[in-house]
């Protein structure tokens, strides 16, 4: 206790040095936290727009479907199986889906699109898609009409209430052709999907493709993507492994996963460089401090203070200094992160186009994951401990006479 008191007084003896050191630590923490939070938050957003809104974290499919994704490899819908999977812990919902390619035609324009059949009620519970309807209304159960994604509707020049023609090849090569009234226009966050997605009620889409009671997949959503390794084996246990497969979002979105991984590595390298710079900054101040206080240390030891005790005091001083700097940093970065968490940075101009070409929503989102804060804290303290070894070695090794005369 006395050590802490002494150390606390010591660090405030030279306020300027303390403030400089503490603020360098503070900025290190702020930079580290904000940078990492922005990266991880953006990944979460990418995963959310591609996975939660579209493919789901786990999909159960006919075992032949994934290879060719043809509408001939469908699975029968089964309420029983859906119920069984949704009873698993951490599973938040199981959604039936039927989707395939279709040509959409209106006036003189025709475009390729994805026609997706959903259970409007269940899907909305999961994705809140009805909040994304920007014009018109959401689908009702077994609705005869369809929703168009915003950019697709814009390109086609279609408005709510218009009737469009869809044309495709259905189940077992049946001709799929029909007219659909447009019920609403929906804004899909993922720009790639926003250009091609048509949504209809499951019943209507099954009817269109001549695939009554059939699905392309059951989408299993879970409460957190971190639980996927727990849930996936359970799902695999339930399904008939001869006929069906359960795929995780990383199996289905290999591209996205690799994109995130490579970007994450480059972020970690940047962070590493930042740490190196900070480490030498800290080491510099500690060397300076040790040199400045050489005489003081010499006098203390000459008066009978144990070198060991002195080293302890210096160590605790540094830790206290670190705590002051890092905690202030944490506080400030919490403020920054929670502000941007609520209102993410929207990218504009040319960067926006580049992002959209890659199929990424042009938004820098932030993550509030507690682990990010904790990690930065640990890293900065660890750097301090390594740096303070220098002054401890000095203290245990100096010659008293030289020190007093310096």
């Amino acid at each position: 206790m006395e050590i802490i008191k002494l150390a606390w007084r010591n660090i405030w003896r030279n306020k300027r040095r303390t403030v400089i050191t503490a603020s360098s630590l503070m900025f290190a923490v702020i930079f580290g936290v904000v940078m990492r939070s922005m990266q991880l938050g953006t990944y979460d957003r990418m995963i959310d727009s591609a996975v939660r809104q579209y493919s789901g974290f786990i999909q159960v499919q006919d075992s032949a479907y994934w290879k060719d994704k043809t509408i001939d490899d469908l699975m029968p819908d089964s309420l029983l199986l859906r119920k069984e999977i949704s009873k698993l812990p951490d599973v938040t919902g199981v959604l039936p889906r039927l989707e395939s390619f279709a040509l959409i035609s209106y006036g003189n324009k025709t475009k390729g699109a994805i026609f997706q059949g959903i259970d409007p009620f269940l899907d909305n519970q999961m994705t809140q898609i009805s909040h994304k309807v920007v014009k018109g209304s959401f689908l009702t159960k077994d609705d005869e009409g369809i929703l168009l994604s915003q950019r697709l509707a814009g390109y086609m020049g279609v408005n709510v209430g218009d009737t469009v023609v869809l044309l495709s090849q259905g189940y077992h090569a049946v001709t799929a052709a029909d007219v659909f009234p447009v019920r609403g226009i929906v804004k899909i966050p993922n720009p790639k999907l926003d250009r091609i997605l048509i949504i209809g009620s499951l019943k209507r889409v099954q009817d269109f493709y001549g695939a009554d009671g059939m699905l392309t997949s059951m989408v299993v959503n879970i409460n957190s993507k971190n639980n996927i390794d727990k849930v996936l084996p359970e799902v695999k246990k339930i399904i008939d492994s001869g006929r069906f497969v359960a795929l995780s979002w990383t199996d289905m979105n290999k591209e996205l996963k690799q994109q995130i991984e490579s970007d994450s590595v480059s972020g970690q390298i940047m962070l590493g460089i930042l740490y190196v710079v900070i480490f030498f900054g800290i080491l510099g101040t500690i060397i300076m401090m040790t040199a400045e206080r050489r005489k003081e240390f010499g006098v203390m030891v000459a008066l009978g203070m144990h070198r060991y005790y002195l080293a302890m005091i210096v160590f605790v001083e540094t830790i206290l200094l670190g705590l002051v700097g890092a905690l202030t940093g944490e506080l400030i970065s919490t403020g920054i992160v929670s502000y941007y968490y609520r209102s993410p940075i929207k990218i504009g101009g040319e960067m926006k186009d580049i992002y959209e070409q890659f199929g990424i929503e042009p938004v820098l989102a932030f993550s509030k994951d507690f682990g990010i804060f904790l990690n930065q804290f640990y890293v900065v303290l660890a750097l301090l401990v390594i740096a303070v070894l220098y002054s401890i070695i000095k203290i245990t090794g100096f010659k008293i006479i030289d020190a007093i005369h310096s």
Binding site: D72, S105, V165, L167, Q169, G170, H172, A173, V174, T175, A177, D178, V179, G210
Partner: protein, 253 residues
């Protein structure tokens, strides 16, 4: 007296010799043309069932078909209910598809020519260019051999102009007696076998003997085939060119 009897006999022998000579000396083009005329006649009107056979499923479609020469044809789907009323029409080099459910007339683009017709192993090109085998290819008799217990000419047909035709060559087995095209092999530009068409089950339709079952077996998808069974067909019933019109596609039942 002697001369009187011998002369006609000689004449007969001579004539029959000539006739025989003529029969064996049929050129490849003539054989192909005869086989083609047999199948299509001047005009034809018939109905048939097509079955798509796939490793895990099969599906049948019923249709009616009208043809006039090689330039015009019309196909009306009569079953199943979901596709009933769909019409395909070929007029010279153009192919059209009418879908009543969406009241749209669709012109099939050249790029769709090598795609399967109604999901079958028949390509749209098969539908279109059936008749052009005679005119767009050079034909050569390779040999004669027995196929399904019938003496056949084996004729190799190579396109005159590569640009017009999707095939590298076709080899046909045509029976000597009746000019039935019993088997046709189609090769791509690199001379790999792409598909084989086999005709069998010879029946009499309106006094004309014809194979009634056609199987198309693609080479690259084992387990896949398309079987067309002719239910009835009548030939040379007068049919005006104007029958093959877009207006009629919408009317026809």
């Amino acid at each position: 007296m002697r001369n009187r009897t011998i002369l006609p006999i000689l004449a007969l022998i001579f004539a029959s010799g000539l006739f025989l000579q003529q029969k064996t000396d049929l050129t490849a083009v003539e054989i192909i043309k005869k086989a083609n005329d047999l199948r299509y006649g001047e005009t034809s009107e018939g109905s048939m069932d097509m079955t798509l056979v796939r490793p895990t499923w099969k599906r049948s479609i019923s249709m009616k078909m009208w043809t006039k020469g090689t330039a015009y044809s019309m196909v009306l789907i009569t079953a199943p209910a979901k596709e009933k009323g769909q019409v395909f029409m070929k007029r010279k080099n153009e192919m059209w598809n009418y879908i009543p459910r969406i009241s749209r007339m669709i012109k099939l683009p050249p790029s769709a020519m090598s795609q399967g017709w109604m999901g079958s192993d028949y390509t749209n090109d098969d539908m279109m260019n059936e008749g052009s085998l005679v005119s767009k290819f050079n034909h050569k008799i390779l040999k004669t051999e027995k196929f399904e217990n019938m003496d056949c000419y084996v004729i190799e047909s190579v396109p005159k102009n590569d640009d017009d035709v999707v095939w590298g060559k076709k080899v046909s087995w045509i029976s000597k007696d009746d000019f039935f095209t019993l088997k046709t092999e189609s090769y791509d530009d690199d001379m790999y076998l792409v598909k084989t068409e086999i005709a069998s089950e010879i029946k009499t339709f309106g006094g004309k003997r014809l194979p009634s079952k056609f199987e198309i077996i693609p080479e690259d998808n084992p387990g896949n085939k398309t079987v067309v069974v002719l239910k009835d067909i009548i030939f040379n019933k007068p049919l005006d060119e104007s029958f093959f019109s877009q207006q009629n596609m919408k009317r026809i039942r």
